[in-house]
Amino acid sequence: MYRYDNYDQSIVDARVEEFRDQVQRRLAGHLTEDQFKPLRLMNGLYLQLHAYMLRVAIPYGTLNGRQMRKLGEIARKYDKGYGHFTTRTNLQYNWIKLADAPDILAELATVEMHAIQTSGNCIRNISSDQYAGVSADEVTDPRPWAELLRQWSTFHPEFTYLPRKFKICVIAAEEDRAAMRLHDIGLKLVSRDGKVGAEVYAGGGMGRTPMVAPQINDFVPEDEIVSYLEACLRVYNRYGRRDNKYKARIKILVHELGVEEYKRQVEEEFAHMRELGLNPPTEELDRIRPFFAGPAYETGLSDEIDRADPAFALWVDRQIAAHRQPGYAIVNISLKPRGGIPGDASAEQIDLVADLAEAYSLDELRVTHAQNLVLPHVKKADLHAIWQKLDAAGLAEANMDLISDIIACPGLDYCSLANARSIPLAQKLSERFAGADRQKDLGELKVKISGCINACGHHHAGHIGVLGVDRKGVENFQLSLGGSGAQDASVGQITGPGFSEDGVVDAIEKVTDLYLSQREEGERFLDTYRRLGMKPFKEAIYG
């Protein structure tokens, strides 16, 4: 894991003091809410329906036990004892008092954490693959680049007042576990002639105009990624639309200019920028890389797992992914218990996962964009002990990528932008499909729910997506099918007229029944949908 040096620490500490100063000016009445708003937003503080919400950055979703424990401590001390993990692999507190916010940031700074640029029209938290460094299919660990970009994007003076927010993702594996092509810019590290570089994708995103990012460059050498991104951002900052916030994301610019024209402008700017010495030297990447080097694994460990306990075996089959080191496994911890709130964890659960990371996972854990947690380095011999502890804490649900592993935004229960409540729908769905055999039979099925058009719940990328809208004062849910955030990224299609909360649960049941009756050998729901098209599903729902 990356550790701050004195430079990193001094910048984060200075930010805490700056924000303390800003909050004091606000509380003393020297700043109006209008004047304060852009300042608090640069620090992840939103004014929501009931209280302030603070969004804490978890860079590229990686953290250690000490950091996790601090998140639990803050939940207990300043919130109502909960934290909410988001689709951006951040953590949100929903019940924060403005006067406490500077103290919370100061506490975070003691464990090398912050809330910098977790909101506002700037470059947001860099996201990455939750299996980075441990999956067998990656070219290299993408996180050193993600950390390099975290530093580059922190208080970038030219790109702090962009037309709209800007999300960057870095992956390095064939399998896309991070929805890379649904980011404003996605980087996929590849190797060419023994050199590492990035395929660059620009203009992806969700919101009201979902787009899968097209590739704009097939190889930017690793030591020029920063200047290339500066070029991409400068073209966007200068020419992205500012007349309508719903058309202000880079995807609209790329779409309106056309990929070739955007690319041409970027290349022109890049030709200029690469001469300015903007790229950190390769020694800087060399400095960062060892922080992410594989920990000291034990060798000669057995790959045997005692499957005598059937509940444990079920969990192993669902939640464990292959680790590249013999004798080790990647453990996925579900934050989607039956009837629960997707992504929520209590302070006690946060503490437990911190303990488990320290005791069993070489002091490291990850957050996924599907709002779950990962222990990346677990000895197979320890799996049973971990499972027992998770089970006792209500964290042993065996539903990864199944129908109840639902992504949902906070929705109208918390969010001031929402039109509909996402959480109760997620709860109802998870109850309706609670049977373990039924879920297993349905197989991989990614359900994603957003409470408004901003699509924080990634509904466009759901195999089954649900969008909550407001129809004449009544919550209404639109159903879409066929989206994907993975390497086969696609945008879902709306089935037709919307439903009530119960109606959409019924409709999803009809859709899954049709899948079960029509699927061919080895087909996931998504495959069957792609083969058959919308028509039969539509008939099943509305016929």
């Binding site: 040096d5 430079y7 990193d8 001094s10 910048i11 200075a14 003091e17 700056e18 100063d21 800003q22 000016r25 004047q35 852009p38 300042l39 029209n121 530093q151 580059w152 922190t154 208080f155 970038h156 003076p157 030219e158 790109f159 702090t160 007042y161 962009l162 037309p163 400068r234 900052n237 200068r238 500012r242 200029h272 300015l276 010495g277 903007l278 950190p280 030297p281 020694e283 800087e284 400095r287």
Partner: protein, 146 residues
């Protein structure tokens, strides 16, 4: 309270700034005002005769002026570069880093707040046009000169 802030040696330019259109159409003016959305690169053929470029920020959230400033400095413009309009104290640092050296905000700024805002961060992560050594250069003094 400060209504005009300068980090330049000597007097600020007094000549009224003209629009980009009239500037590029007449040969004797030395001061120009860029509105958000106008292309700073149109001025590059004239930078030797320019003594003032005013960049207007119609709203604090409109960040096009930061790119305009940096483009001019990258091209070697060393005359006065003035930020005007909705310029807030919490933006001064970023503006300085993009090459602005004078400021005439719509609303006067508090001196003490200006002082704090500009001295808050001892270190920066990016190389821009302000000559500050980014953290990565300080970390590797043997490979990064200047």
């Amino acid at each position: 309270m400060v209504e005009f802030l300068s980090f330049r040696e000597g007097e600020a330019a007094q000549e009224p700034a003209v629009t980009v259109e009239s500037f590029t159409g007449q040969s004797n003016s030395t001061a120009v005002r860029i509105e958000a959305g106008e292309d700073a690169r149109e001025l590059l053929p004239y930078i030797d005769r320019l003594s003032l470029v005013e960049v207007n920020f119609p709203a604090y959230g409109d960040g096009r002026g930061y790119s305009a400033a940096r483009i001019l400095r990258e091209a070697g413009y060393d005359g006065e570069l003035r930020a005007v309009g909705d310029v807030l104290v919490d933006q001064l640092n970023a503006m300085r880093r993009c090459g602005f050296d004078t400021f005439r905000p719509d609303k006067a700024l508090d001196d003490a707040a200006v002082e704090r805002a500009l001295n808050r961060y001892a270190d920066v992560y990016q190389k821009t046009v302000d000559g500050r050594r980014p953290v990565w250069a300080k970390r590797h003094p043997e490979t990064v000169n200047g």
